[in-house]
Symmetry: C2
Subunit: 343 residues, 2 copies
Amino acid sequence: MTLTLTLDALTDRIVAILRRAGLNEVQAAALGGVIAAGERDGCKSHGIYRIEGVLRTLKAGKVDGAALPVLAEDDGRAIIRVEARRGFSTPAFDLGLPLLAARARELGLAAMVVNDCTHFSALWPEVEAVTAEGLAALVMCPSYASVAPTGGTRPLLGTNPLAFGWPRPAGHPYVFDFATSVAARGELELKRRAGEALPEGWAIDAEGRPTTDPEAGLAGAMLPFGGHKGSAIGTMIELLAGVMIGDLTSPEVLEQLGTTALAPFHGELVIALSPEAFARGRPGDPFARAELLFGAITGQGARLPSQRRFAARAKAEAEGVTLTPAEAAQLDRMLELGLDAVA
Amino acid sequence: MTLTLTLDALTDRIVAILRRAGLNEVQAAALGGVIAAGERDGCKSHGIYRIEGVLRTLKAGKVDGAALPVLAEDDGRAIIRVEARRGFSTPAFDLGLPLLAARARELGLAAMVVNDCTHFSALWPEVEAVTAEGLAALVMCPSYASVAPTGGTRPLLGTNPLAFGWPRPAGHPYVFDFATSVAARGELELKRRAGEALPEGWAIDAEGRPTTDPEAGLAGAMLPFGGHKGSAIGTMIELLAGVMIGDLTSPEVLEQLGTTALAPFHGELVIALSPEAFARGRPGDPFARAELLFGAITGQGARLPSQRRFAARAKAEAEGVTLTPAEAAQLDRMLELGLDAVA
């Protein structure tokens, strides 16, 4: 039987599962929020599907469910640093956000560095949290080596997501959040299960040759989106959100983790910019002018990113979230068995 | 007869032409530097070829060759603003760079906004100037409406270049600088002249239909690189380096300029980040760790961006720059006739 839950009820159930599995209140509350948000927005790949991965990563001892993130001493400069202390990224981000927002408003722009975190969530919840402060956001992180640089033959870069947001006075912000690989690893996996060929340009095999065989692609490497341009952006993300912030790069993550089956351990970079500060003294209101641009985009039939997600959200907020019988049973099972529910 | 000049002699000749055409010393020196650098690096599209465009834009009264850029009052925050005062972008950038670098070192990151400038240069000279300060750089600007957003039918976004640099202790920095359109307008023009078809995915015609006819593509719109992802990045650049900084977006540029044949008038955003400040207190030296990443990229046969440019530079520095007889004659002609050399 399908199960329909309000968002609050869904969140409570996820938090209860995470608490049962051993996460402390801070970790469980933060993760419960983003996992419920993924389900709410119809992002099945970042919804309750992720709970199992959280539990497996916890069971493998790769994340500290008892961690309390700590804000590094504030030196008044533009870098806000949060030590996740081997916990998940989300509670660390939540801890640093108020200071990041205050500092970006004060200085015009500021950055939050999250160090030593396990990361499994999409970046859009964080982008949206920054835009809710009236600030633009640029967020990026590495993942683990699974993408070959253009012209290369082996996995080196991560799928390295890049996300951006711009606050809109009415309604949802402008938000994009995408992998800098042409496809996500999960999409290759789905093709494999469906017995379908990969589109050309998605992957190379273990010998570095282009392949449309999902099996061969999964054993080889994925390719960056947009050819050498996407490859360069993926490399930039390794540099800024790995090397520069003193945290792991994607090849280092894979080496430490030893598998792509658990949530990766690395850092994250969030840059917040104040449109009000940047536009000060210049003609026009930046928020009103942005709306003209968005209107020109949708006015010619193009879509703004994230619209499908926002539509799913509206539906979920009105009608609740409906889980399949298998999903509902899996939640019950995880609540009952805790870490014994996963291998 | 071909003409081979040392870099200094080439720069002097370009500066003399620009002075003859009416640019003041500040504008001529800054532009002479970047035009000579383009020629030196084998970027013919940003070398002496550009002088004619500079002269035409000047002759059309669209740029003020007598402008002196002004640094806005420093409030001690993270935004450095330079008013180009309707001059070219380059001297404004040069004026703001020392303060940008000092502020990025002090705060960890800082931004330079250049407002009200005419822009024709590549972004890599500015990226390299920031990396020479030991800082990472992210630089972007709009251009004029010539690219349709993905799913759209008409020109709206510009070719909106995105450039990034990372300082390397030995040798040239890691630098990329590319249009967020799949191809540059000049590449479509070259295909038209050669009577060749466009690759699929480069352009749409005036009715918004995919086309491989260069003529139809030039009358229609170019497409973003990497599909919806490149389209989103191009939109981000309109927002950050147009709307946010209180300067023109690409559709506004085209509306004001009325043509794509002159250099566009808009603003520019430069973000400088201090790897030393970001990595402070964390394990490992960011510059040494970045070298490991670069080594892993080149070690599997992939190239770092800008290598062709750096190779051309080494050759030019050793052997000088050789101009074709037509190029040498055109320089002579522009030096003799000033603005009368162009239509």
